[in-house]
């Protein structure tokens, strides 16, 4: 299909831009922040107060438009009772996070971090992993 191929090509060309690599981490970060805000019943105004900024800044940040520093990220995470974990992977990898609370034994087969190359068949990966 022409439009699908064309979009894929555009996506490949966009790999050289910073915007391209920013979308994923920003979405993950804002989503986690919102989840913790909901869990801890923290409003945007309260979060702004805790980090010493304005409510407008929090709105801008959650929309993914702010270019914040690592210090701001840590401040935000601390304000909602969380912590930041950063991981650099292969560009073709898909990373999935799974939290494990300290002091709790992991369930069978549970790992803290999983990464596999994108577009790789998961069935094949499993078969290869079993081979000696």
């Amino acid at each position: 299909m022409e439009s699908l191929e064309s979009c894929r090509q555009m996506l490949e060309e966009a790999e050289a831009s910073v915007d391209y690599w920013l979308a994923g981490p920003v979405t993950d970060f804002t989503e986690d922040l919102c989840r913790l805000m909901e869990e801890n019943d923290i409003s945007r105004a309260e979060l702004a107060r805790r980090i010493g900024s304005s409510r407008a800044y929090i709105t801008k940040l959650l929309r993914g438009n702010a270019n914040y520093t690592l210090t701001t990220m840590v401040k935000l995470a601390m304000a909602v009772g969380g912590a930041i974990h950063i991981h650099i992977s292969d560009q073709r990898a898909v990373t999935r996070w799974r939290d494990e609370v300290r002091g709790r034994k992991p369930k069978a087969g549970e790992t803290t971090k999983m990464a596999r190359p994108r577009h790789e068949d998961p069935k094949k990966t499993r078969v290869q992993a079993r081979e000696p």
């Binding site: 299909m1 699908l4 391209y20 920013l22 994923g24 919102c34 989840r35 805000m37 438009n65 994108r118």
Partner: protein
Amino acid sequence: MKPGRVLTYVNPPVNMHLVRIARDQWDVLGVLDGKGCCQVLDFLRQLPPNYAAAQRWMLQFLFLHLPVAGPPKHNTALCKSLGGGIFELRRQPKGQKLRTLFFYDDLCRIVLTNAFLKAETTPRTEIALARSSKKRYFEAKFRHRLQILKET
């Protein structure tokens, strides 16, 4: 046995075509129109150069992030319900409001209906279009008349 009757069941007409945009944990599909064009992909492809940042973000999101993590559930600034089972993916860098509407099917399937740029309010025609696509999709699914074009 009436042969004509049997043939009707053997070759039921397909009345909704979709294209698979990406698939991982989530299956991301796009609705195709009568001419076999996906409005979402065509629209994103033809965005003017001043929307390049929003375009890149949305493409990256649809092709890479959505199939792996699904739509954001908590952050309403990025994904919001419009009622009637229709949701919108939102992106607005520097006031450029780019929206993609979708609905869920089963547990891990997302069907993208249409994409557009908006000013202050979301055009009702776009929401109506998404609702009509949703209705057609479930009717076609119920009658086993869905056809999904495979990834090339």
